[in-house]
């Protein structure tokens, strides 16, 4: 059933679809049918694998690369950072940048100036194995404006404010975006994978309002519109289906590791992206 929702998300109408899906599924809990229990289950132990997460944004660094290892599923606590890796980024202009480990498992080089249209090549050597990836930074798509809309609330949805993010999809090219929202006061990212794929809306003025969140008066929101490559869009899309923090979602098809652009068997991704920011304050009630 939730795949219905996913399909409709793809249809770029995630808000009403989500509600409809919940409405249909909602019938089961309503009549007291479905229930959830935490259970004990035996899972195999896994040989630790290298996880690499590297990003390059336009402008100056730090452009961090995080390297860690996987863990068995039920081991609590933090993930093991990988130190003493050799991390290098080169670009298509022939420049090469070596990264320094600034704290365990986090490597950076502040002296890279990210440019749209430039392709970056990452190389990471850990324990004798080398992992590589490349990513080309797309042009920035600016946010035209942000707006909020009051939702009265009823049986299906909470009362509050919905967010709209307006931007112009550039005509004649394939555009992929990801929108992130931060709480402007705490600078805490609110999570979620709000992806945009311009396949069906090339050249249109976009009113992106498919956020799950409902906001309160007084909230300050900072919105970042990231322009990403198709391979990174696909990574985030397949990642969103297997993150462990998303509750309520039933497995759709057969779950699988996300489609990474890293070679050599590492998990994670390397993305060069452009980002545009805007903020909005939802006024407190008088």
């Amino acid at each position: 059933m939730l795949r219905v929702i996913r399909f409709l998300k793809i249809l770029k109408a995630n808000r009403p679809a989500q509600k409809l899906g919940l409405f249909a599924i909602g019938l089961f809990p309503l009549i007291g049918l479905s229930c959830e229990d935490v259970i004990d289950i035996n899972l195999n132990s896994v040989e630790p694998r290298v996880v690499i997460e590297g990003t390059i944004t336009h402008g100056w660094g730090p452009h961090p690369v995080r390297i860690s290892k996987t863990d068995d599923y039920f081991i609590p606590g933090n993930f093991t950072p990988v130190s003493e890796a050799i991390v290098t980024v080169t670009d298509d202009a022939g420049r090469s940048f070596d990264y320094q480990e600034i704290e365990p498992g986090i490597y950076q080089n502040e002296y890279i100036l990210g440019f749209a249209g430039r392709t970056y090549y990452l190389s990471v050597t850990v324990e004798g194995a080398t992992y590589t990836a490349s990513s080309t930074m797309p042009e920035t798509i600016p946010i035209d404006s942000l707006a909020y809309e009051y939702q009265p609330g009823d049986e299906f949805e909470d009362e509050g404010y919905l967010l709209h993010c307006y931007f112009q999809d550039p005509e004649g090219q394939d555009d992929y975006c990801r929108i992130k929202i931060w709480n402007g006061n705490t600078e805490k990212w609110l999570g979620g994978y709000f992806l945009y794929n311009g396949d069906w809306s090339d050249g249109n003025y976009i009113d992106y309002n498919y956020f799950w969140n409902v906001f309160e008066p007084g909230d300050t929101l900072t919105v970042g519109l990231m322009t990403i490559e198709k391979q990174i869009h696909d990574y985030y899309l397949t990642l969103s289906q297997v993150v462990a923090s998303k509750d309520g979602e039933m497995p759709q098809g057969v779950p699988a590791n996300p489609n990474t652009n890293l070679s050599g068997g590492a998990l994670g991704y390397f993305a060069a992206f452009a980002i545009d920011w805007q903020s909005i304050v939802i006024p407190s009630a008088e």
Binding site: D37, Y73, D154, D234, A244
Partner: protein, 767 residues
């Protein structure tokens, strides 16, 4: 065609040499109260120890030497009739049998004949009358054919409460579902929790898990052939019922007594009527319902001709306020003409229409978006049955289906941020030619063999794409209207041999090949209305299944117990799966998202059925294995299919306590399906992420459930009570792996159970 005629002639000449003058007794066998044709009724000539059975239109024909005979007509649930026939010329004998009253005292059944299940080479098939399964408790109290067949060996539910099913390791799209010969493309209502087949309108159900006659084809794993009731030829009658979910009404009667009749049967859910009473506007504006309407009429034009018209339409409607709506459904129609060329040659000509479609609409301010998709068939079909003599029966025929696929279209208002889009229609012509021969070689050996030639022509207009290994288009060929884009064809042989060991046991062996030219695009584990069909094309080769099975059939206690043990091996080529993150909806290049491999399945199935007495019911058990191998999945290593389930047991029992009360119970147990669980985890993009190491490397927990039912029969009214999952076991519908809400450094496994016990009550009435 000439080859086939030649083949036919050859077959006729090898049949036993005729030394005596022979005559034919033929006619129809019907129910005496309604005039409904009885399918599979036995005609037995005592003196010759031979006979035949009626076909799906109730017609029989038996050719024997002149003489004085006692002919016995019988079918389960009816009083047998024995008549004396002095056969000095060919004659028409139409027979009417009357329903046997429910017998509560143990009955003695005399086994003078070898029962059909022992005698025929047919294996892996089950015949069910809806009356037989009326008392079996089903979830929501709603009689459901597709859920009942899941209690048979080798047939598995695609998920808790789901009407989708897997047969002998095959996919849910490998089951051919025919409603009065029309293909039903999506048999699910309400996201799979109900099937579209309204039991009130169905007369006969036949499920074939393999060794289906050459008449059937087009799907790899099974055939479910449903026949709608014809309508009462004698009286006007009505039946109906009010259940927890839906209410039903059926009306039937003669148009001209004993000449023509009609039946209209409808069903609709009524939960939405309560939504309309809500105080909330949002609830009032929302919709959720489905309905089915079956219609059939027939007219007997004379001894040799009869015409039928049957139609079905059903639809689901879901609406969320006035913002969003989905509706989907099937339409089928069959126009059929039965003609007797002689008392030995029966023909059936059909013109069939079927369609499945879905529509989605969104309104968001002044933005309006509509999406739709459909598949549409026109099918012309011609079948002949030639009853040569008691030892030889031939079937032959042909069919041609013109498919129109509309993969998807988006219509959007000017104000919308979505652009209109149409995925190009696809067209195909699916043809078949078949012949089969049922041959009783001797008292001990019977054969049923045949050949089917199937062809599939993909027709223009359209584009054929060539992809590289990454799924990118490297070349595109355009075709004009009706231009042949690709042709597939091939022979599908079928053979079943029966060796009768004695009156009550036999050994059977069968081999059959099936081809499937249609593929259901679905990445989900349960049925959704958006699952659409895709034809075989240059890139998508037709599926091929070869199955071999061996069976031992044995009856006990004067045929009161029927048992069978079958083992099978099935190999399936050109199976479809998808790349991770595949975008299969509204995608012109959907073929780039597919990957291909093979699957195989083997197992043993035991079936024990008790047919008579106060207690009736069956036990079915299957042990099996199904694996798949795809170059692009699981590093090319073979893995268990999702439907792979080692043990599967169902026990179904009915107890006729008195004329008034009938009690029933089912117990279902199965070991868990293969499933993909994470083995590890890692941290990326601010989230804990599940790490998968192999496809379907884990098992769901074992599943078991007891359902109870009771029926109180009255003259006009009857009550049906049922309790689903009586001991309230929390069977896992899914297991989710996620972060602990309270301690985000921990991850946990969460079992989701959909239904604990669920009671329902249905009131049925008739007049």
């Amino acid at each position: 065609m000439t080859k086939i005629l030649l083949f036919l002639t050859l077959l006729f000449t090898v049949s036993p040499i005729q030394t005596q003058i022979k005559y034919t007794i033929s006619g129809h066998i019907r129910d005496s109260s309604s005039g409904e044709e009885l399918i599979g009724a036995t005609v037995y000539i005592k003196e010759l120890k031979t006979g035949t059975s009626s076909n799906v239109y109730g017609f029989y024909s038996v050719t024997v030497p002149a003489g004085e005979y006692k002919v016995r007509y019988s079918v389960i649930g009816y009083e047998p009739q024995e008549i004396d026939i002095s056969l000095t010329q060919s004659m028409i004998k139409d027979i009417e049998l009357s329903v046997k009253p429910v017998i509560l005292s143990p009955t003695i059944v005399t086994a003078e004949t070898v029962e059909e299940n022992i005698k025929t080479p047919e294996m892996g098939s089950y015949n069910i009358q809806p009356v037989e399964i009326k008392t079996i408790p089903i979830i929501f109290g709603e009689q459901d054919i597709l859920k009942t067949i899941q209690l048979l060996p080798g047939v598995r539910s695609a998920g808790e409460g789901q009407s989708g099913y897997n047969v002998r390791g095959g996919g849910t799209d490998q089951n051919l579902m025919l409603l009065d010969e029309a293909i039903v493309y999506n048999a699910s209502h309400l996201l799979g929790f109900f099937s579209v087949f309204n039991s009130d309108a169905i007369k006969d159900i036949k499920l074939m898990k393999g060794s289906a006659s050459a008449e059937y084809g087009g799907r790899l794993s099974s055939v479910l052939d449903l026949k709608m009731k014809e309508g009462n030829l004698k009286n006007y009658t009505g039946t109906g019922g009010i259940g927890l979910v839906a209410s039903r009404l059926t009306f039937q009667g003669p148009i001209v007594k004993d000449k023509g009749s009609f039946i209209v049967s409808g069903r609709r859910t009524y939960l939405d009527l309560f939504l309309k009473m809500s105080k909330s506007e949002s609830v009032r504006k929302s919709e959720i319902y489905f309905y089915d309407l079956n219609l059939k009429s027939n007219y007997i034009l004379g001894n040799n001709d009869r015409v039928f018209l049957s139609a079905y339409t059903g639809r689901d409607v879901l609406g969320y306020k006035d913002e969003f709506g989905i509706d989907w459904g099937n339409v089928t129609a069959t126009l059929r003409w039965n003609h007797l060329f002689s008392d030995k040659l029966f023909s059936n000509s059909s013109l069939i229409f079927s369609k499945y479609d879905y529509q989605i609409s969104f309104t968001n301010g002044d933005e309006l978006i509509a999406v739709n998709s459909s598949i549409k068939d026109i099918n012309l079909k011609e079948d002949f049955q030639y009853f040569h003599n008691t030892a030889n029966k031939f079937q032959f025929g042909l069919s041609a289906i013109y498919h129109t696929f509309l993969p998807g279209e988006i219509k959007a208002s000017d104000a919308s941020s979505v652009n209109p889009l149409k995925i190009k229609n696809k067209y195909a012509l699916e043809t078949a030619l078949y012949i089969s021969h049922e041959y009783d070689y001797s008292d001990r050996i019977a054969l049923d063999y045949g050949l089917r030639y199937s062809g599939f022509a993909v027709l223009g207009p359209g584009n054929a794409y060539t992809f590289d290994e990454y799924g990118d288009v490297i070349s595109t060929e355009s075709y004009k209207s009706n231009q042949l884009m690709k042709y597939y064809g091939g022979i599908e042989p079928r053979i079943a041999v029966n060796y009768i060991l004695n009156q009550s046991s036999s050994l059977k062996l069968s081999y059959d090949r099936n081809k499937q030219y249609m593929h259901l695009l679905s990445t989900s584990t349960s049925s959704t209305p958006f699952d659409i069909w895709h034809p075989s094309t240059k890139n998508v080769k037709p599926g091929i299944a070869d199955q071999i099975s061996l069976g031992y059939f044995r009856n006990f206690d004067n045929n009161n117990f029927e048992t069978s043990l079958e083992i099978y091996y099935k190999n399936m080529k050109n199976q479809v799966d998808y790349r991770n993150g595949a975008d299969i909806y509204l995608n012109e290049l959907v073929e780039a998202e597919m990957v291909f491999g093979r699957a195989w399945s083997y197992g043993a199935e035991l079936f024990v059925k008790k047919k008579f007495g106060r207690y009736t019911g069956w036990l079915s058990y299957a042990i099996s294995r199904t694996r798949k191998k795809f170059d692009d999945i699981n590093d090319g290593k073979s893995f268990p299919a999702r439907q792979d389930r080692t043990h599967d047991l169902s026990i179904v029992g009915t107890y006729n306590f008195s004329e008034k009360w009938t009690f029933s119970a089912n117990w279902v147990f199965y070991s868990g399906n293969a499933v993909t669980f994470p083995s590890g985890k890692y941290y990326v993009d601010g989230h804990i992420v599940n790490l998968y190491t192999e496809r379907n490397g884990y098992r769901m927990p074992p599943y078991h459930r007891l359902d109870l039912g009771a029926t109180l029969n009255g003259k006009r009214f009857s009550w049906n009570f049922s309790l689903y999952n009586a001991y309230g076991r929390k069977n896992a519908y899914a297991i989710l792996f996620r972060k602990d809400e309270l301690d985000p450094t921990r991850t946990e496994a969460v079992r989701v159970a959909l239904f604990s016990f669920f009671p329902s009550v249905t009131l049925n009435f008739k007049w």
